[in-house]
């Protein structure tokens, strides 16, 4: 069937069920109660501390076909997913579903677990590296479900993603299951993406290499939800978890794009006292924060909050008084960890609070402006951040669609050409974030405003920004690079791209080359 943005999607998917087509960013309303996990209890005197994962697997017990969940604050330094799945393989378990908020190159052993039938289903918000390539080539019979960060929280809370056992990668934990992310060799800061897992899973296991004295405070994941605590030698590699400092790009093209994007933000009229802002850590995105910071200093502007993945750059803005608060679902560097531990105005929140569309209001709804990247964008402003231009999965929405939907101003920053590849297409290979939630595209050769935002176009024109139609930018890129041939893909669906509301916005087809 065809959804509201013209994407061909299957009507029914094995292991997923009936597909609800995407109908518009705010068109599908919830009609279900929240899921209630099993009620648990702990007798006084009963210990939660286990000697190893095998003991926990037997005690729960973990059975064939169960769903095991993981969060991704350790990014490419994570050791917990591999440790847990190696235990599952050793115990001869089969047909497990892995529900991980993201998958990174470090998770390559998962490919062997696919082949051996230990893991036969995957549910995630982002994946890159060998697992993503294996999935693209058809390693799993059941399509992977790709969600947004807010959509994953929704699916857990509203009962579409039932978790049997949640494994919490715990930088610090006490013996009775209180967990936080601010201390220990794998300190990663916020544990926000693990909140829904801990709250809604039937069983919760904290895996730590840093056992703290009871009671551990502050509490991010509480003892009231944690059933077992396992101490292992090492739960991750700090080098892959946080960087020392996140630096602004030196690429002159990206700096030009960022400078222009900051001028777009200023011209929109939103950059005034109370301004709220989200930006990513990569490429031009963080550089936009650099230029916005200068404008805020020059104009004596104090923002209300910065949101999202938090970098040292945003921490510096908090400490300079340019923002009143930081709302943090994930930290990217050591500065973010330090600030979360020390500054009461730096607040840790869960994935649902951050971006679940089906609660009484998540934080992205309060955003003035978000700066986002794109692998491809089409002339209807739909954005692809899931597949590379060759069809291989190399990412996922993460919070992209969530922040785009919530913010008053959504700016996509992108080089007009990535290598030789034009970034603007007639139709993106995989729609991830719908064009109706994207307001402006900023490239090094001009700024395109979504025709839905005539009001904004007038303001940007008045400010003298170099406006062009998006089709004009596309032709400009193609005049330089040539028109790319369409990529041939197989018929088989290897992943479903779920929009944040649980409808399906696109399907990813198998790479057959």
């Amino acid at each position: 069937m065809i959804n509201a943005i013209g994407r061909e999607i299957p009507a029914h998917v094995e292991g997923y069920g009936k597909v609800t087509p995407f109908a518009g960013a705010f068109a599908t309303e919830p009609d279900m109660p929240r899921r209630a996990p099993a009620v648990k209890w702990a007798r006084p005197g009963a210990a939660k501390l286990a000697t190893g994962l095998e003991e926990v697997f037997r005690a729960i017990p973990v059975r064939d076909g169960m769903t095991l969940s993981f969060h991704h604050h350790f990014r490419n330094g994570d050791g917990v997913v591999n440790l847990v799945l190696a235990t599952a393989a050793k115990l001869g378990l089969k047909d497990l579903k892995v529900a991980a908020s993201s998958i990174f190159p470090v998770h390559a052993p998962l490919v062997e677990h696919f082949k051996a039938g230990v893991v036969t289903a995957l549910d995630t918000n982002y994946m890159s590296g060998p697992v993503a390539e294996a999935v693209s080539r058809g390693a799993l019979a059941k399509p992977v479900i790709l969600r947004t960060h807010g959509g994953r929280a929704r699916a857990i809370e509203c009962g579409q993603l039932k978790i049997d056992v949640a494994f919490i990668a715990a930088p610090s934990a006490d013996e009775y299951g209180n967990v936080n992310g601010i201390a220990g060799p794998t300190a990663c800061g916020s544990l926000g993406y693990a909140y829904p897992d801990a709250e809604y899973a039937d069983k919760v296991v904290a895996v730590t290499d840093n056992l703290a004295a009871y009671p551990l405070t502050p509490v991010s994941i509480p003892q009231t939800r944690v059933d077992y605590v396992v101490k292992v030698d090492k739960i991750g590699d700090p080098k892959g978890i946080v960087s020392g400092t996140t630096r602004i790009t030196k690429d002159p093209v990206q700096l030009k794009i960022a400078d222009t994007a900051a001028k777009v933000v200023q011209a929109s009229g939103l950059l005034k006292n109370g301004f709220s802002f989200q930006t990513g850590a990569g490429g031009a995105s963080l550089a936009v924060a650099h230029f916005v910071r200068q404008m805020m200093v020059a104009g004596g502007i104090t923002g209300s909050f910065a949101l999202g993945g938090i970098t040292g750059y945003l921490v510096a803005m908090l400490e300079e008084g340019l923002f009143e608060k930081i709302i943090d679902v994930q930290g990217f560097d050591l500065e973010a960890v330090r600030s979360l531990a020390a500054n009461p105005n730096h607040v840790e929140v869960g994935a649902g609070f951050y971006a679940n569309p089906f609660n009484s209001g998540c934080v992205v709804n309060m955003l003035d402006c978000v700066i986002l990247g794109a692998t491809e964008i089409d002339t209807a402003f739909n954005v692809n951040v899931v597949t590379g231009s060759d069809g291989m999965i190399m990412g996922g929405s993460g919070g992209h669609s969530d922040a785009a939907a919530g913010a008053k101003l959504t700016v996509v920053v992108a080089n007009l050409l990535r290598g030789r590849l034009p970034i603007i297409m007639d139709k993106v290979l995989t729609a991830t974030t719908p064009g109706e939630t994207v307001d402006v595209l900023v490239t090094e050769r001009g700024v395109a405003v979504n025709p839905r935002r005539g009001d904004l176009k007038e303001k940007l024109a008045a400010a003298g920004l170099p406006l062009k139609e998006i089709g004009e930018l596309k032709r400009l890129a193609e005049a330089i690079a040539g028109v790319p041939q369409p990529v041939k893909l197989g018929d088989r669906t290897v992943a479903l791209v779920e929009y944040r509301d649980g409808t399906v916005i696109d399907a990813v087809r198998q790479v057959v080359r």
């Binding site: 231009s389 060759d390 030789r420 690079a481 041939q485 990529v487």
Partner: protein, 97 residues
């Protein structure tokens, strides 16, 4: 026009192409071995530009190996021309005319 010896031009930097040309017996024709990070989207276009450039220089027989990192057509032409010059095609009067 035939080539004297194998020769190379270009680098493996992003947006460049490394082109190696080598002589083959007369009548062998043009054989292109292409590696590219944009093979799916531009493979045919890159082969076409390489072939057109060889033909423009009067080279009918050559073994070409190209490792492309997303070079634009103008870069591809320049690297092929440079490799041909180094291989002796220019000395024989094919270059640029």
């Amino acid at each position: 026009m035939s080539l004297d010896k194998p020769a190379q031009a270009g680098t493996l930097e992003s947006s460049d192409i490394m082109v190696t040309v080598a002589p083959v017996p007369p009548g062998s024709g043009i054989a292109i071995e292409l590696e590219s990070n944009v093979l799916a989207q531009y493979g045919d276009a890159i082969r076409r530009v390489i072939t057109e450039t060889l033909v423009a220089y009067g080279v009918a027989d050559a073994a070409v190996r190209a490792v492309d990192r997303g070079a634009l057509d103008c870069t591809i032409r320049a690297r092929v021309a440079a490799a041909l010059a180094r291989a002796g095609a220019a000395r024989q009067g094919g270059c640029g005319r």
